[in-house]
Amino acid sequence: MTERVVRIFSRFERFWHWAQMVLIFALMLSGFRVSGLHDGLDFETAVTLHMVSALALIVLWAFSIFWHMTTGTWRHYIPTSKGLIAVARFYMWGIFKGERHPYRKAFWRKHNPLQALTYLMLKVLLFPAIWVTGLLYLGYSLWEDLPNSADLLWAIAGVHVIVAFMIAAFVIAHVYLLTVGPSFSEHVAPMITGFDKIDLTPEEEAYLEADEPDSLK
């Protein structure tokens, strides 16, 4: 095992991440306006912004799902119990003692097990939940003739809002965890430059040096 500075986030992955960030912030700002929590912009603008951002995000998701599947990147999110307890213990205890983070990033495992599990839950639970409720909400006029449709809409909108807050809670924890480390900027840098320190196997190192020298520093 050698620690090398390796490109682990491709251009698309970084675009996906930051575009998603912008869209999610736009959705939260406009969504909280629509649900009446602030009046920082007018309702019509908020609704329009919310619809446009949501549709753009869905398109982005469609592309990113395709990208994950075709590149095999989806494997980063396979849940594993290996090292999970250690990472959890670190965040709840070891971090206060000044211990070293127990996880070493690998080329095909760039997220720690807790992080991977969190992202997986986000992708398979929260995102689909907000996507499905949002589309049902958007398409209300297609099913409004069902009995009790107003109550159904209330329930769907309620779930949509609660899930939105869960995603907001994720964002808070996600940003906070960037401060856990030497510095915030150093922690954000890989998602900007694409490069991070990774433990490579000799085979991976040899492959990258031979076939993708641009991916190594």
Partner: protein, 545 residues
Amino acid sequence: MQKRTRTRLGLAIVAMLFATGTALAETPARTTETRTPGTSTADHSQFEILQQDFKTGPEVTAACLSCHTEADDQVRQSIHFTWEFEHPVTGQLLGKRHVINAFCGNVVGNEPRCTSCHAGYGWTDMHQPPPQQSAAVDCLICHDRSGGYTKLSTGAGHPPMSTKGETITGAPAKPVDLRSAALSVGLPGRENCGQCHFYGGGGDNVKHGDLSSALFDPPLSVDVHMSPDGQDFACSTCHVSEAHQWAGSRYAMHASDPEGTGLPGPRRAVATCQSCHDNAPHPMTLTGIKLNDHTDTVACQTCHIPEFARGGVATKMKWDWSTAGRLENGKPLSIGGYIQGDGEDRHTYLSTKGDFEWGENVVPYYAWFDGQMEYTTGDQTIDPTRVVEVNHFGGGPEDGQSRIWPFKRLIGRQAYDSVNDHLIYSQVWGPTTDTAFWTNFDWGKAIAAGMKAAGMPYSGQYGFVDTHFYWPITHMVAPATDALKCEDCHVENGRLGDIAGIYMPGTRPLGLANVLGLLILAASVAGVALHMGIRLLSRKVPHHD
């Protein structure tokens, strides 16, 4: 290079999504050409039979009928003449001839005064149907284009032929030149309809709230359809007619109009917004599509008539009959004090009518409305401990045809039979009688006489009861820029705050979902704060790489 192309393709698709909204243009309303004098194939001023010095209204009518042989039959079957309407849904017998309202109450017993607005001549007794002779139809009140024809306020429909009295609009009477009126005839203009419909209830805009003399020449901000700067419509542009039967009823309305513009050619049976504008009138932008989604819930009028009684003419919002009859030194009082937008001083108290409150630029009352008006008629038992709905209506989200409509709601206080618990008929007008309230200021006599005229049992005891009276608001459509904004309703305690049966985002900032969500968010913030706090307190720099 390949990667870059892929990214660009993705961006292009996102950009296309943004662009589709503005690509499609707004569909304009289908307009029916305003009928103006001068498009007719007949110049009535050249007709010999009209070149007479007519002495009475019926003489003119007889001349009209010498060519328009079927017109009298048609008019006599219209509600303008019968004042009677059998409701097709509720079966109630309505019409001015029968109903009690919260304004001057009832026609029966007050005939020549109330029937001064009848589209005929000489209806002096409500117990009889309106006069059936052909010449009893008043052609001129609708078709005079000279501007000189009017009706005397107490003449059972006849025009003033001297300077005695006043006209139905409250102007001093002057003899009508029937010859020039007859020579001028054409299709009705707003001056014709307005003489009665703008002055109902005893004065300008007293009744409707959305029909006033402001509509004779309104600025665009008051009525986009009737303003000379807008469409300059006559009333009959929307209230289309066929054989002297007009579209548009307050008793049995189209609360919604799924047919929209219908087949080619103007529809003759409806006066709905949709009959010109269709059910998807907003442009195909994201906002427009969303607004079109609203048309199955909200009447067009709800957003597009943000306030009624605009243009400087106030409408009566409260009418308390119970205080009427107060005299000073034996003389009736007439107290002004409400200066309306156009500068006119309106009465706030009259010994003849009681206390009034006026309103201008009034925010409507909103309710689900299925279009079918029911009346509390004189034979119905009321509950005097509660506000009596003199007219009332149903509707809700489930029936598919109701919409949320704007209303003028008149708050009234009017007499009732306190033993039988019935609304009463009263005789208010009758200058030569000993019983009329406006002459003798004695409710006991006025009610007894009114009940006798109506043929209703009366206990002899009366009291006053609080009432509501509803007028659907449908005129005075404002320019689109003045229409309601989303946040007029999508806000806590907004305009539709009392409406049940719909989910409206933004109206409950502290609803269940938001509260649960905020708790989740608070837990997350608290967790992070706690974690950070312990980290800072333990003062150890962790190694994380």
